[in-house]
Symmetry: C2
Subunit: 462 residues, 2 copies
Amino acid sequence: MRQLTLELAADGKRPMYEQLCAYFTEEIRTGRLLAGEKLPSKRELCAHLGVSRSTVETAYATLVSEGYVRARPQSGYYVSDFVPYDAPALPPGAAETVPEPTPAPAGPDCSTAGVDVSLFPYTAWARLYREAVVSTPTLLQRGDRQGDAPLRGTLCAFLREYRGVRCRPEQIVVGAGMEYLSGLLVQLFPPDTVFGLEDPGYAAMDATIRSMGRTVRYLPMDAHGLRPDALEASGATVAYTTPSHQFPMGLTMPADRRSRLLQWAAAGPDRWLIEDDYDSEFRYGARPVPAMQGMDALGRTVYVGTFSRSLAPSIRLAWLVLPDALLRRYQALSGHSYSTVSRYEQAVMARFLDSGTYARYLRRLSALYRRRRAQLVRILSEIGGIRIQGSDGGLHFLIRSERLSEAELLSRAAAEGVVLRGLSAYCREAVPGSGTVVMGYGGLRDEDIPALAERLRRAWEN
Amino acid sequence: MRQLTLELAADGKRPMYEQLCAYFTEEIRTGRLLAGEKLPSKRELCAHLGVSRSTVETAYATLVSEGYVRARPQSGYYVSDFVPYDAPALPPGAAETVPEPTPAPAGPDCSTAGVDVSLFPYTAWARLYREAVVSTPTLLQRGDRQGDAPLRGTLCAFLREYRGVRCRPEQIVVGAGMEYLSGLLVQLFPPDTVFGLEDPGYAAMDATIRSMGRTVRYLPMDAHGLRPDALEASGATVAYTTPSHQFPMGLTMPADRRSRLLQWAAAGPDRWLIEDDYDSEFRYGARPVPAMQGMDALGRTVYVGTFSRSLAPSIRLAWLVLPDALLRRYQALSGHSYSTVSRYEQAVMARFLDSGTYARYLRRLSALYRRRRAQLVRILSEIGGIRIQGSDGGLHFLIRSERLSEAELLSRAAAEGVVLRGLSAYCREAVPGSGTVVMGYGGLRDEDIPALAERLRRAWEN
């Protein structure tokens, strides 16, 4: 019998037979015991280790049932046809070559992704969550795949009142963020569908569509937004647009242009508009422009929105409003899925909407952003040769220079410690006419604005 | 001037100019005012409505800026080139043709999806959630796209200790359920990848892969699970398998078979195993079989798991453990995404794991399922001609009949009010050898089991 290096611990923490199993398993896995090799007989093992016959029998039976060992009648126990997985050593440092996510730049956060959560009603949120957990045990079970009825009902009423969206709760699908839902939406169109995207536009949507192997055309815009003639010429049958506050140009599509897009959709049998109502919660002009979806009586517009911007990025709750024809496709496709959103947080959000807490929060938040934007626009406008554009809504605007190129704007700002993105970063085939950078202010702190503006003045004035 | 049917409400609830805008907008949208038609002059409108000049001026300026109306110098205001979206009436009842989700059958829940949540630690969960909300405001901001570090750290330690998974926290990606993560996983392989699936197998994975346009081969099994020779012959380069408790056959893949699958993966340059550790939390045999991933020193195994079964279906938290090579692909692809799981619930789950609450809960839950399974197996085994198979773990087993066909088993059970699924519902190309049905018991209530067994005895004994 080969030498056993095994020592059994009799402290009762782990059954003896399990320790025996673990020992042999490891010997086999690492190739110290080879296929076909004979194990000690039960009698030998008992004597050697001083354990009971039943311990050894249980261990051997377990090894047989797990496939490490085979029993040959009248002969004994042999290692299975088990090839030890003799791995070549990984190249040195291989484990460390995984790149870490880029850290956020220090300095003021001028990204378009920033959101202010200083006014978030923490205690109300936590209280509603607790109420949902304690009062409704059934919320632990599988919910409706489109989202629970109370949330869809209140969301439907909210969208009708605040955005002029015309829909029934059955048309709503809630999901864990826009990325997830846009992946789901793309699947509702045939694989050979050509998608038309605004250029410059929202890169995440572009990436999602292309990662699913679909074809994309980049569509030029004019001062009113997406050009219907370019859309028609592109051969696209699904057009993605951000009419409320175009990303990143910041313009609001006028009603006659929306009407033209709806006419385009009506002119073909399988033409669709995806209206991303991005940042529509925040309007600083005369009145909020209602959603294009509300003008669409033919049901060719998918309306999409999210609470990531208005509530908090980490609350993963976005929605689609599907026209009936696409709703039927969704329901045919989604047989096995169910909602990606925690039902507890769905219940909290339903109460948030229903009680008016959300609408009140939005008003306070909107006032905060309005003040911040006014301050920022006022100071920046004083810089020579600078124009502000697209600041009527949302959480970002464009800064155009008559004198400096985009590269100059960016490098001079960076030299003052301000990291900005240029408009060209959002362009695919479009070419920005003049030096233009994108300024997001959702993530700025009010107290940092004078110093930020001063840095930009230093950077760009001479 | 055409007749205005407008009545302004002077109760101060809504500014006068907004009411005027809303009136004209609706007239234009519905086609009662047509493109090119002239609006009343400002003077006329003031006189007719008895409102101030500035009210009318604000309203007209808003209509112009929104694109409904154009101003012609020295002439007046005209309706834009706006084609009213004159929708044909929807066919009667069209809104009602959307099919509702199939309601759950009445009677005992014998589905494989059922989960018992009666022992769920509601108050601990709610308390931890509240603590996360109140103590950590930064949790509202964007988190790590792979999931927050505390959760990945504790999950990594848990998987190492309980499942023998060998990984670093950086390899873990948490997401809102297995459906979402499997969609993400499929994208890490080239579009022409052929996926091999166990047959019979898990239909949701099959549907996800095919919905993304990928090719699927169905692989036969023997008494030890997936057959390596069939896998080799299929041309598949990614094999999806459930070694811990094969779904739906219920068998545990022995170690030598796992070793053969790992050899298969090592024999080609881009071959991968997806190990779905479905239902591994619940083992009623000698000891839990460690994950195949822990045997794989070459890094060709993706390990996937979820808390949907062990904790609750509505807690949307599943994970992938990616080998380094796939992790790099994921990080290259996921530039724009961030985690689909609520950061608050991530924080709760991290504390749940870290404090041992989850492990204790799992022990109590496992004891509950073990008792239920034993009771069910004992009573069912007394029915003549019935054999139970695959009941060593998980939350379901197979019932085989030597005498009755699957159709007979199902229809007789249904006549007694028991809805079951036949094995053939899970088969793609495989043909079940004998009459076999699948019995899930996660969703049963203990008190219903004697009556359920009695119904099945009546159904199948004669």
